[in-house]
């Protein structure tokens, strides 16, 4: 089992005007929870503590505004896929569209 464990890390930038607010956090946690690997996230831009990428409450502590760089680290058998998919989600603005418009 241990020989299948890998570590992976990838950075991604939050493009959303509203930053990493509750709904994108939920999307991130939903996706992170699909992987067996542990997922940890740091807001590199403001030197905050590392949080559990599968905990919505902890992810809210990142206070990641637009342009913040998130460092996504995973550890486990599917670590590579996890960081790749999660970084893609962040870079895509969590598929939320508030990169161009602000909801009422």
């Amino acid at each position: 089992m241990s020989d299948a464990t890998t570590e992976a890390v990838r950075d991604a930038t939050v493009p959303n005007r509203e930053g990493l607010h509750a709904r994108p956090v939920m999307r991130f946690v939903d996706l992170a929870s699909k992987y067996k690997s542990t997922v940890a996230v740091t807001n590199v831009s403001c030197d905050k503590e590392k949080v559990d990428g599968k905990s919505a409450m902890q992810m809210m502590l990142l206070e990641a505004t637009q342009g913040s760089v998130l460092r996504i680290e995973a550890c486990g058998e599917d670590a590579d896929e996890a960081v790749r998919a999660l970084a893609a989600l962040v870079n895509a603005g969590f598929n939320m569209m508030d990169t161009s418009q602000r909801p009422g």
Partner: protein
Amino acid sequence: MGTEVDMKLSDLIDAPSVVPDLKATDRNGVIRELIQSLADSGAIEQHHMETIARATITRENQGSTGFGKGVAVPHVKHQCIEKMIATIGRSSHGVDFAALDRAPVYTIVMLLSPASAPEEHLAAMERIFRYLQRENFRRFLRQAETREAIVELVTEADDLQNE
């Protein structure tokens, strides 16, 4: 980022509108009761009440703010909100917020933010969740039976945070 050190939850909470024993038993009712309470205390304009209530419910329909562990943080950013304001409601019977963990919600922290200040909103959410993270804070909030007790808990948590 000095904001999270400087911002106090007690400065954000409109103490007179804290509801220690919510009458409403469903999610939308709770949201409306808290917004009514904010309007009664003068924290928001009476004539904006319906607009803000609808916007908060619409936001909640887009994704539950029931983060689990008995807490929900319904919130909205809206142009008719001039100044960021929050309040707290406590339900003794528990409310279904379609929470992440499916469990009923006993503590509701509502945050209303102006549409133009996303950074300030994120800083306030950070502060709210930093406190809600603590099991003791959640437990004491759930047990607090009066408005004064809830407000005092928030002030104590601020003091603890800034020690």
